[in-house]
Symmetry: C2
Subunit: 362 residues, 2 copies
């Protein structure tokens, strides 16, 4: 940990790799010899073309995307995708399946319904307080897509295995676990992810869309809400969020060149989460809230014996340079978000602190 | 000019005040003592609350907005507002007036029509190649709003005086002249502005909306496309573009505390534009493309005697540390964008260069 920096367990916006932040800082007044800040260069310049093209190439390489897939950068976060997905993919007479695994799935469902789209909620774990991912789901053979939330930040669950849909393309909100593990891309038709957890700052949303779904985009919806607008113009129909895309580019470069690629990243993520879950499982003091087989590798949610102890835990943690451990305001408790950029040393420091706290208060 | 920086005349993204860039750079690894970068702090934290609340307060103070006005930060740029304005403000049976003064007005009109909204194009200067602003317009008494583009970046024109609409609220795209001069706010119902010209980096769009227009927002459109969603949650229904809002806050602080407020800013802008236009008018070598009474104070568009000379001009300018002088790709020629952050010294350096170039090639 650098002298005046903390270990940051925020759920998003979240920690970024320190070498990325340092590179941004160092070149902030003069980007790539342009004599301008990266915030001042034209999006129509060679400088920015290099940034966005490199970012797109890295996304394709990391996720092993073939030419059927288009890599787009949009604004409005995943919340805008909740409305754009059904608006673009569901025409008259079409319907889609949705699986409800928590707050964000619920919102995605709501935005489809607001538009009067026909959707089927084929599974939900609401009756189990969203503490797990549903099993053995029957997807509709005629669904245009099957929507899931691959990782649920608030309840700390994730899909350990992506479902068999009988060929229906999965549309997944991957805001909180994109680039954290490898994917069988054949299952997916569209992936979207707000950047501010695993790959960048707030202000840009990655959308990966397959040709056959892109072809469904209607021509009579507003230009800025059509996926084709972005696909046809390399995400630059209008001025894109340049700084956020630049930061994403640097994070993906760090993932490939410093971490060593997606397999190495996934291995590190399993190790980080394993440290926390293994310790919690034998402690008796800390209690994980997600069911074991659905546990997220990104958001480790847990309770202490009392709410008072939880408050003390969060307060003492920050005094020890460990920030962002409060659970989401809708559920309380504690949460350690350990996305890609969170170093192993941060998790080790957290486990050490948890042990000391248990000794003192257990 | 700092040793390795150029004078930047880009049309957007554009120059930012050097002290703002330096402050961002200096605190980039540790924002306000948080031990985190401003890109890593939670939008639900006290740190970010202070940023967005200060930004909102400065917008209200600079433009002398009373409590009827709501200050919102959205994503998607002005292009997203082209669709959101009619989507939110025009119900069944409603209609609005639009004035066409160039590329961006044309796009705003197109996005209203795509949605099947009833609009009247009450004036256009297309027949004069958009080289001026129309005069003596008859606005419709029953229009919900009258849409204008206050400054036209491509053709280099602006509304020197805002039109009398007989009480119909003006909705204005002010992306390229927001905060460049004082406004009679009584005339306006909604103002929108992409940040990347006069107030920040790309990735955030300021929307100022009056109570009576906000009340028109329908409840049955997607959540992220409703103005009320942003008004009810201080622009934080979902994660906002934190870094871009933070930069806007710093630019507005610079405008108030370093420049000395909007009147001083306007005076400086008149002086900067005056230097360029006065020189061009007496040169005979450079020819302004906008009609005199409609000349923009932000985008000074001009031609040289030949396209070859224009190419040479742009190429030699960059060798002299003057960047971004090429005209928009749709019209050619040259353009010096001199938004708020462009210092007087930059314009003086440009005029000196233009004189030397004229002596050599004239």
């Amino acid at each position: 940990m650098k002298a005046d920096r903390i270990y940051n367990f925020n759920a998003g916006p979240a920690a970024l790799p320190l070498p990325v932040l340092e590179e941004i800082q160092e070149s902030f007044l003069n980007f790539a010899g342009a004599g301008m800040s990266v915030t001042e260069i034209s999006h129509r310049s060679k400088w920015f073309d290099d940034v966005i093209n490199d970012a797109v190439a890295r996304v394709k390489r990391i996720l092993k995307l073939d030419d059927r897939f288009h890599v787009l950068f949009l604004q409005g976060g995943a919340s805008m995708q909740f409305c754009m997905v059904p608006m673009n993919l569901l025409g008259a007479g079409d319907s889609a399946d949705y699986v409800n695994t928590g707050t964000w799935s619920t919102k995605a469902i709501k935005e489809a319904k607001i538009q009067g789209k026909s959707i089927n909620m084929v599974a939900s774990t609401e009756d189990r307080n969203f503490s797990c991912i549903p099993q053995a789901i029957s997807f509709s053979a005629d669904a245009v897509y099957a929507h899931i939330t691959s990782n649920n930040t608030i309840k700390g669950t994730h899909w350990a295995h992506f479902p068999e849909t009988g060929g229906v393309p999965i549309v997944s909100d991957m805001s909180s676990d994109i680039f954290s593990r490898s994917l069988d891309i054949e299952k997916f038709g569209l992936i979207y992810a707000g950047a501010q957890k695993n790959m960048g700052p707030a202000g840009v949303c990655l959308v990966i869309i397959r040709d056959d779904l892109l072809a469904r985009t209607p021509g009579d919806i507003p230009t800025m809400l059509r996926y084709t607008t972005y696909a046809e113009k390399n995400s630059m129909y209008n001025t894109p969020p340049c700084f956020a895309i630049y930061t994403v580019q640097l994070v993906l470069k760090w993932l490939e060149e410093t971490i060593g690629g997606l397999d190495k990243m996934a291995e590190l993520n399993r190790k980080k989460a394993g440290l926390l879950y293994d310790y919690m499982d034998q402690s008796g003091f800390y209690r994980g809230t997600a069911e074991k087989e659905s546990r997220s590798l990104m958001n480790v949610t847990f309770r202490l014996p009392s709410e008072d102890l939880e408050k003390t835990f969060v307060a003492e943690a920050i005094k020890n340079g460990l920030g962002g451990l409060k659970g989401h305001r809708s559920v309380g408790g504690c949460r350690a978000s350990i996305y890609n950029p969170t170093p192993l040393a941060a998790v080790e420091a957290l486990v050490d602190f948890m042990k000391a706290f248990e000794r003192k208060h257990g």
